[in-house]
């Protein structure tokens, strides 16, 4: 599909028409995925760790971020996530693009009303609207956004620094049931099947559309395409699954290099768990913690 796609390699920028922008978005998504695979296979601090240790340690930090009761501790966790990302050659630009902006938009939409809706000590008043911003509201919003950002950053670190089959193997090693791991594996594969089907479908449509389409026609086209796309990708996904079964796939994850834990992995786990312990401890120290 790649070489046949005339938009591949370069993906021209600019507004373009509806189909062109849609195609560009789909191709960008596939490029993102290919980039992520390259990053996971490349050098970096987290890339060198045993996937099981890394997954366990980072998931422990995700859980800590969700339950921590101190903004300072949350900030510490966030700083650690960012430092680990940089040490693993993940740029701040990528983090911002893939997690921070998206999480800020979604959790911000939930958190902003809380600033004025939660009763408490007044901090300021919104001019013209006369709404009171409270300290408790601000604190609640900061916790919501901070927790979501930190947890999502740690989760992204697992995904970006570990080839997907190793993530699945690590999940199996940590006792996640086979059926769940198989579903995760198939979901990951089918996302690409869906993306590829989408690109083919929209390229075919684009080749038959003359000039820009008016708004209602664009929407009709998009809606009609969704149904066709779903049917096609379902068929293709079924065929891919059959092809896997034909080659002996039974749901279990097999890797060429069996996972091996070395002293540095245990050291890294101790480091990650220490960070989690410090963050939790901070919340329970009344003198320096900022529990509210």
């Amino acid at each position: 599909m790649g070489e046949q796609s005339f938009l591949r390699g370069g993906h021209p920028r600019g507004r373009g028409d509806f189909l062109e922008r849609l195609l560009r978005g789909l191709l960008d998504a596939m490029d993102h995925a290919a980039d992520a695979e390259r990053l996971a296979a490349g050098p970096g601090l987290l890339q060198r760790l045993d996937p099981r240790i890394k997954t366990f340690g980072l998931l422990a930090l995700v859980v800590t971020a969700v339950f921590v009761k101190s903004l300072v501790a949350l900030a510490l966790l966030f700083a650690c996530a960012t430092a680990l990302a940089l040490a693993s050659r993940i740029t701040l630009r990528r983090l911002a693009g893939q997690v921070w902006i998206g999480v800020l938009v979604f959790t911000g939409a939930l958190a902003v009303p809380a600033i004025v809706l939660v009763p408490g000590d007044a901090v300021a008043v919104v001019p013209l609207l006369d709404w009171t911003i409270t300290r408790q509201g601000l604190r609640g919003a900061a916790f919501l956004i901070g927790r979501a950002q930190t947890a999502a950053t740690f989760a992204l670190l697992v995904i970006l620094t570990t080839p997907w089959p190793q993530v699945l193997k690590a999940l199996r090693s940590l006792g996640v049931p086979l059926i769940l791991v198989a579903i995760l594996g198939m979901t990951h594969r089918y996302i690409f099947v869906l993306l590829e089907s989408s690109v083919q479908l929209f390229e075919a449509k684009r080749s038959r559309v003359m000039g820009p389409l008016p708004g209602p026609q664009r929407r009709r086209l998009a809606m009609a395409s969704v149904v066709v796309l779903l049917e096609r990708s379902l068929q293709l996904a079924t065929d891919v699954h059959l092809a896997m079964i034909a080659r002996g796939y039974r749901g279990e994850v097999h890797l060429l290099d069996e996972l091996r834990t070395r002293p540095r992995d245990w050291l890294a786990l101790a480091g990650l768990l220490s960070i989690a312990a410090v963050a939790i401890g901070w919340s329970w120290l009344p003198a320096i913690g900022d529990r509210g």
Binding site: M1, E3, L236, L242, A246, R247, G248, L256
Partner: protein
């Protein structure tokens, strides 16, 4: 021709008795009975929609008859039986299927991973996998594509990878669905040369095709399907020589055109040029 079975004295790789299969309400196979002897190269012939691909999927134990009896290597094949780990392992080890659309079959990030996938599922050792992958990469001239994404290869390269990733497990039975479809003449030639080389090698090869130009080279015996029914069987020479049968099963059609001398002619027309020969 219908009555004769292919080499009745040889042990059967597959045996189907009155097999029916339907996709929901749409019948795909309708009372098919046939016997595929071990070690033979067989062609399944039929126009589009005749049931060839469905029959291959049944032979690969990817789906099972709604009615009728299907056996492989003398053992019954059914969904329940294929749930047994040992039987499934033994069967997948012995039977390999190359799909018509290589994109369906290539789902790993690199060509290397693609080739290693089957052996990994079958529990081979790391050393054995590395050795066999290297050997297949060399044999199929894929060494320079080892780290490439299969989805970004040309059609011919994809087909070679698809074939290699099935052959790496050295199956006794090779099932191929339209192996020359959508390939350029050179790639077609490579596939046909490989299949021709399988004749007499002891490997059972079942090729579904409607490309009559390759049949004589790749098959000892043919089964002809039409609308889900087995309508004829015989040696490649017998089947290819029966123009009426080929026209009736839409493998051949009368082609009408006007020559430079102004006279109109009709003659039998095949859609494909001979594999490997210039257009």
């Amino acid at each position: 021709m219908q009555a004769a079975a292919a080499h009745p004295q040889t042990a059967a790789a597959f045996e189907l008795v009155d097999v029916h299969y339907a996709y929901q309400d749409i019948p795909a196979l309708n009372g098919v009975s046939l016997r595929i002897p071990a070690g033979q190269c067989i062609a399944l012939l039929g126009a589009n929609g005749s049931g060839k691909s469905t029959l291959l999927r049944l032979l690969a134990a990817l789906c099972f008859p709604d009615r009728g009896h299907l056996a492989a290597f003398g053992e019954d094949l059914s969904d329940e039986r294929m749930q047994q780990e040992a039987l499934a392992y033994a069967f997948r080890r012995r039977v390999g299927l190359v799909f018509q659309n290589p994109d369906v079959q290539l789902f790993n990030p690199t060509v290397f991973d693609e080739l290693a996938f089957g052996p990994l599922q079958l529990g081979w050792t790391r050393e054995e996998i590395l050795r066999c992958v290297d050997a297949m990469l060399t044999e199929f001239s894929l060494a320079n594509l080892k780290h490439r994404s299969p989805h970004r290869l040309s059609g011919g390269e994809k087909k070679r990878v698809a074939l290699a990733c099935v052959l790496i497990t050295r199956p006794e039975v090779l099932l191929l669905d339209e192996p020359t479809a959508a390939l350029d003449p050179r790639s077609q030639g490579e596939v046909v040369r490989f299949l021709a080389g399988c004749r007499g090698s002891g490997r059972t090869v079942v090729t579904a095709t409607h490309n009559l130009d390759i049949v004589a080279e790749i098959a000892d015996y043919c089964f002809v399907l039409q609308a889900g029914r087995l309508v004829a069987q015989g040696t490649s020479t017998d089947i290819l020589g029966d123009g009426a049968l080929l026209r009736a099963t839409q493998l051949l059609h009368a082609h009408w055109h006007v020559h430079a001398d102004g006279l109109a002619h009709t003659h039998d027309h095949r859609h494909h040029v001979a594999a490997g020969e210039p257009l």
